[in-house]
Amino acid sequence: MSVLSAQSRRDMEIRRYPLLVYTLVPLGALVLQAWLPRVAGRYEWFDLPLLVTVFFALGRRNPLQGTLMGAVMGLFQDALSHNAIGINGIAKTVVGFLAGSVGIRIDVDNFTIRVLLTFGLSLLSSAIYLFVARFLLGLAADWNWLTELLRAVGNGVIALVLFPLLDRLRVRD
């Protein structure tokens, strides 16, 4: 993983996107996340809101925006489920913050790094979810680590395809 110096960090390009992209892409991710499991059946090993959070946080290189984006996406996911509102919110808030923070320090144009980051952040999101649900709240949350691992792999694979597509939507100078 190539770690950048302070000078090169300053020189790095901050990716900007049209406002419509900031609105429609997260909305599309939430809608597809709710709709696709009907098609995929039990093979719903993906988390599109997480991918969108990671993508924008890495691209913007801004922990604050990543945090807010993660919080909004997580809260929406919680609101659509029957679980307590805030569990996914906390998980994705942390993920957004970390992705934004890491984006400052590494070269996020490298696909391999982005995929590996997505894989790692996906596992972290699952771990935070479990921690909040089971240890902070004391809820009896059933868990299957194989599913979480498969979801992380699925997210990595989808990121490989999705991120280049979303890169095309950025505003070029």
Binding site: P37, T67, S81, T93
Partner: protein
Amino acid sequence: MESLFSRYRNLVVLLALLMLQLVGLAVQVRRSSSGESTLEPTDAGGVRLIRLWANAVISPPERLIHSSTTGMATMWSNYVDLVHVRRQNQDLEHTVDRLRLEQAALLEDARQGERLQAMLGFQQKYIYSTLAAQVYGSSGSDRSHVFYIDKGWHEGLKPDMAVITAEGIVGKVRDVFPHTAQVLAVNDSTSGAGVILETTRIRGVLRGDAVGQLEVVGVTADERIQPGEHVLTAGGDLIFPRGLAVGVVKKVVPDPDRDGLVDIILKPAAPLDRLDEVLVITSTEPRFSPEQEQDLSTSAAEQSAVPAAIKDQMKASEIMAEKLPGLIDPNLPPDQQPLHDSTNPDPATQPPRPLHPDEFSPRANDDSGANPEAGSTPETNHPPAASAGSGSGTKPSPKEKPQTTLPRKP
């Protein structure tokens, strides 16, 4: 202070957001009497509002996608994918002809069955008001097995209504919005339904496990439980009517938490991960077709007519009693009284003559002919022979009513 905030702005915002969400979570979770933490069974006002907003934002595009894909699939199958349709059409026409003949025979049986069912009072099973709804979305998470249907409280839906398909049970309505509703599937770990095994009659509680499999938990180990056995709803949970299909026993595994108990893994009867259309049971009141209603009213009229018929019969018997000739005809000599009729299969027996008669003994004064009514009572069913023989010359007065063997009144 300002510089401190701007320096740690990202961290401050992160901590503030985390704290806010933690406080929100603490409000939603409660500790039960057994010391376990559970979610509030019904959402508080604020939480419900957030769900309503999220639903209002996500549902319209989701329904749009759903309807467009359905429309595209319909277009594809109806207008494009028509290979071998002509051949299939011919085959189907032959099948229809054959089925029409069978249907004609079965229809009459079915009608008769419906009438009998209504008349026998089998009203508690399978006759409910249902509302068809289309599934258009899910929670998007395998940690929450809920899905959304396109009917809400405007269409009469309420929480805790059972959701089924023709194959079996699916879930229950959890949250109702104006035109949509959230359904908690039976394979969610927070779901619960009372079930019974069809042949062994063993009862248990149905729920979902971590990977969304259906299982009956907390069942005492029993060798009779075999794969392939059908599981039905028990009806005790006040949500699902009894007797609906739940699934088939796939395997039996030991309960990891409790010794001596087993968990029964089921293959669901309804395709829980590929639902398109479902039925919501909106009322458990019996619903009959007009023909069945007519049968029921006929049956009720017949039942109410029975006491009236009995009363009429009793009245008729009284009239008959009045009109029937008595066993003592005052105009006939004693030896020709009906009591001496040899054709009478049950003639009144004469009391035995006493060995040492006194003045109170019946027929004691036969020879003297005095006191001809001695020993007879007006209510006696079988008039004593003394009465019968009272015609030894003495005729009763014309005003005297002839006695009868029939009871005056039951």
